[in-house]
Symmetry: C2
Subunit: 413 residues, 2 copies
C-alpha cells in the first residue's frame, strides 16, 4: 500500500510542471515544512535584496533612497505586484500596515459608502481579528454587526439585505480549509445593494482570485502566508476603482495625502488607491515582501491551483489509507471545488501529535481543540513531502510515540 503511495508520489513529482520553482526557496535541510499557510518559507531572492537595502540603500545612500531607490512608491508598486496575483488591474491595491489595520480601513470605508444601512455582516467562524475589527468599526460608525454563517448568508440577505452595508468574509475557512463561493456571495450582496469585502489571507498566492471580474468591492490580506513575504510582512488592501472617487479612509495619514510633501493644513485624500497609504511604511519588511513576490515570476496561478489540489488530494488519499485506521478524520472537503490549499485532520491528541511531528522534522500546526492543520504551498511543497508527513504521523500514532497532553494553543495563523 505504502509502495503504491510512494510510486504515486514519484510520478506526481516527476510530472510536476512547478517542480523547478522549489529552488526559489531556501528550505532547511531535514525539514518538511507544511506550515506555509502560517509563515511562508524564505524565498532565495530575499537575502540579497535585503543586503542591498540595508547596506547600500539605507547605509550609504541614506535619506536620498526615498527618491533614488524609489522607496516612496513601494507601497503602490508592491500593491500592484500583489494585485496581479488576485485579479486586480493596477492602481487598486496598496501594500502596507497589517491585515487588522487594512480591515479597519476597508470596513470603515464600506460603512461610509452605505451611510443609511445599519448592518455589517460577517462570519461567526471568521478569523478572530476580522470579527473584532468589525465590532470596533460598528461601534465607531454606529452600526450593528450580525454574524451569519456563509451557508445562511443568501437567505439572510433576502430578508434583511436592504439593511446591510457590507458583508465581510473569507474565501477560506482557516480551520477546515473549506472554500466559500466568492462569486455567489458577492453577487448576493450586490443584488441587495450591499458591498462585498473579502479577506484573502488564506487565498492570495494559493489559488486564482478574480477580484475585478467578480466585481468585489474591497479585499485585504496578509503578505506572510502564501506570498512568503516574511514574518509579519506588510498586508494589502484592494479597493475597486469604481469607489475611488467616493471612498473615505479613517486613517488619514500624511502619505495618503494628495500632496504629501506640501505640508498642507488640511487633509486632501490622494486620488485612487494611494489614499489608503497611512504613515511611513516599514521599508525593510516591505522590500523583503517585494523580493519574495518574484517567486511567482512566470508562474500561472491556474498551475498553482492544479498542483495545490494534487497535493491536498494526495494528502487526503494518504490520510484515508494510513491515518483513518488510526482514528484521524479528514475535515477538509474531498470535493476539489471547495478545497483550499490545506488539509485539516481531526484527532483528540492534535496538540501532542503536532509536537511529536515537529520533533522529527515535520512542521505543521494545530487549531484548538483538535485540528491538525497541514498547509501545502504549490511553489515549494512536493508530493513526497506530503507522503513523509502522513507516513510519520501514522508511525507516531500507531506507536503511541507522542504526549497525549491537553491541547494548548500557541502559534500564529
Amino acid at each position: 500500500m505504502t509502495q503504491q503511495l510512494t510510486d504515486l508520489a514519484d510520478h506526481l513529482d516527476a510530472t510536476d510542471p512547478l517542480a523547478h520553482v522549489r529552488d526559489r526557496f531556501l528550505l532547511p535541510e531535514g525539514v518538511v515544512y507544511l506550515d506555509g499557510n502560517s509563515l511562508g518559507p524564505l524565498p532565495a531572492a530575499v537575502p540579497p535584496v535585503l543586503e542591498d537595502v540595508v547596506h547600500r540603500q539605507w547605509g550609504t545612500d541614506l535619506i536620498r533612497s526615498w527618491n533614488t531607490h524609489d522607496w516612496w512608491q513601494a507601497p503602490l508598486r508592491v500593491g500592484d505586484a500583489i494585485g496581479a496575483l488576485i485579479g486586480a488591474a493596477p492602481g487598486q491595491t496598496v501594500a502596507g500596515d497589517s491585515t487588522s489595520v487594512q480591515l479597519f480601513t476597508a470596513l470603515s470605508a464600506a460603512a461610509e459608502l452605505r451611510p443609511d444601512r445599519p448592518l455589517l455582516v460577517t462570519d461567526p467562524e471568521h478569523f478572530p481579528t476580522d470579527r473584532y475589527l468589525a465590532d470596533s468599526v460598528g461601534r465607531l460608525h454606529g452600526r450593528q454587526v450580525r454574524r451569519v454563517a456563509p451557508a445562511d448568508l443568501p437567505e439572510f440577505l433576502d430578508e434583511h439585505g436592504d439593511q446591510v452595508a457590507v458583508i465581510s468574509y473569507s474565501p477560506v475557512d482557516f480551520r477546515s480549509g473549506e472554500l466559500h463561493d466568492v462569486a455567489a456571495l458577492t453577487r448576493a450582496a450586490h443584488r441587495v445593494g450591499a458591498l462585498a469585502l473579502w479577506d484573502l489571507c488564506h487565498a492570495a498566492g494559493a489559488m486564482p482570485v478574480h477580484l475585478d471580474d467578480l466585481g468585489v468591492d474591497f479585499a485585504v490580506g496578509c503578505g506572510y502566508k502564501f506570498l512568503s513575504g516574511g514574518p509579519g510582512a506588510p498586508a494589502f488592501l484592494y479597493a475597486a476603482e469604481r469607489h475611488h472617487d467616493s471612498w473615505r479612509t479613517p486613517l488619514s495619514g500624511w502619505t495618503g495625502h494628495a500632496e504629501p510633501f506640501g505640508l498642507q493644513a488640511d487633509y486632501v485624500p490622494a486620488p485612487g488607491i494611494a489614499r489608503a497609504r497611512i504613515g511611513t511604511p516599514p521599508i525593510l519588511s516591505l522590500l523583503a515582501l517585494e523580493a519574495a513576490l518574484t517567486a511567482f515570476d512566470g508562474v500561472d496561478l491556474a498551475q498553482v491551483r492544479a498542483k495545490s489540489l494534487s497535493l491536498t488530494g494526495f494528502f487526503l488519499r494518504c490520510a484515508e489509507e494510513l491515518l483513518a485506521p488510526e482514528g484521524f478524520e479528514a475535515v477538509t472537503p474531498a470535493e476539489p471545488e471547495i478545497r483550499a490549499s490545506q488539509v485539516s485532520l481531526r484527532h483528540p491528541h492534535a496538540y501532542g501529535l503536532i509536537q511529536a511531528l515537529a520533533a522529527q522534522g515535520v512542521v505543521a500546526d494545530m487549531r484548538a481543540p483538535d485540528i491538525l492543520r497541514f498547509g501545502v504551498n504549490a511553489l515549494c511543497t512536493s508530493h513526497h513531502d506530503v507522503l513523509t508527513a502522513a507516513t510519520l504521523l501514522q508511525r507516531i500514532t500507531s506507536a503511541g510515540d507522542y504526549d497525549p497532553v491537553p491541547q494548548e494553543p500557541g502559534t500564529v495563523t
Copy 2:
C-alpha cells in the same frame, strides 16, 4: 576666523565624552550626514542581527521562531527599550505600526476617556499627519478639533478648558527646532481635567524625556529618526499605567486580545499596554529597530542633550560668523533651553543650496519654502561635521555655485 572655528571644533571633539559612540554607526565615506532627524544612519549592530533573523530565525527555524526567538514579545520588549529613553517605566510602551496609526489609537483612546468633552486641541503648526489624524478622530468620535498655537494654549485652556478632552502637541517644532514646554503644557491641561498627548518623533533619542515624571497621559513617536531604526521603522505608543484599566483602543486586532491564541468570539482587551498591539508586526523591521537601539547602551541622555546643545550651539556660531554675511538667518532659537537637536536657517534659495550641498557630500534637508534644516545626532555627529557643512555652505553661497531654482518639496521628515 575659520582657524578659530577649526580650533574650537578640534577641542570640542577631542573632549567629547560620546565620541566613541560614533563607531556604533556605519557612516559612508565622504559624507557629512545632517539628516538623521529624517532618517537615522545605519547602526553597526543592525546588519548581523538582520542576517540572523532572515537566515536562521525565518529561513531555518521558520514558524517556531515566534516562540523560540520570542518574536511574539518583540513589540513589548522593543517598547520597553524605547520606554527607557523617554522616561517610561516598563509596561507602558509598545512598538509597532506607524506614528499615524499610533496617533489614531492615542487620540481615540483619549477622546473616549473624556466622553463629555467636545474638543480635541492641537497645534496649527503640528506635523501634518498629527493634524489630519486629529481631524479624522474628531469626525469619528463626534468631536471638534481646535488648532491653538502652543503659546496661546494656556490662555485657551483657561477659557475653554472644561470642554477639552485632550491636547496633542510635539515638544519640537519640526521646522524651526524650537522646543515647547512639555511640563508646563501638560500641567495646564491637567489643571482643567484634559489629557496630554505628546508626539515625540523629533525628541525621542535626542534629549531626555520624562513621561512618567511629568504625568503625560499618552505619547507616540517614530523609530526612524534619532532612534535610527531604519526607513519606516515601527513607531511606538506610550500609555500611562493609570489609564490601563479604562482605556479603549479603536484598532482591536487579534494580537491585542487578552487571549490571542484562544480564538475567542469576542474581543477582550489584553491588560496593560498590550492591548495597543494590533496585527502581526513586521518582524524584520521591528528587530532591526531593536538592534539599532543598542547604540544607546550605556549612553546617558543627559550627555546626549549636552552634546546636542554643543553641536547646535557651535553650528549657530558658525552660522553667525560664516553664513549671516551671506544672507542666512538663524531660525532655531539661540537659547539652549528651547533649542531642539537641529539648526534651521532661512535663505530664499534653500532648495538649490541643499541640492548643491548634497552634490558635495553634505546631506541635510529643507522645509518649504525657505528653511534649510540640519539635524545633529549626538551619537554620531561631530563638531567637525558641523564646521564642514557650514564652511561648504558659505563657499557655495558666496561663489553662487548653486541653482537658484524655485523650492520644490521632496523628502520625508
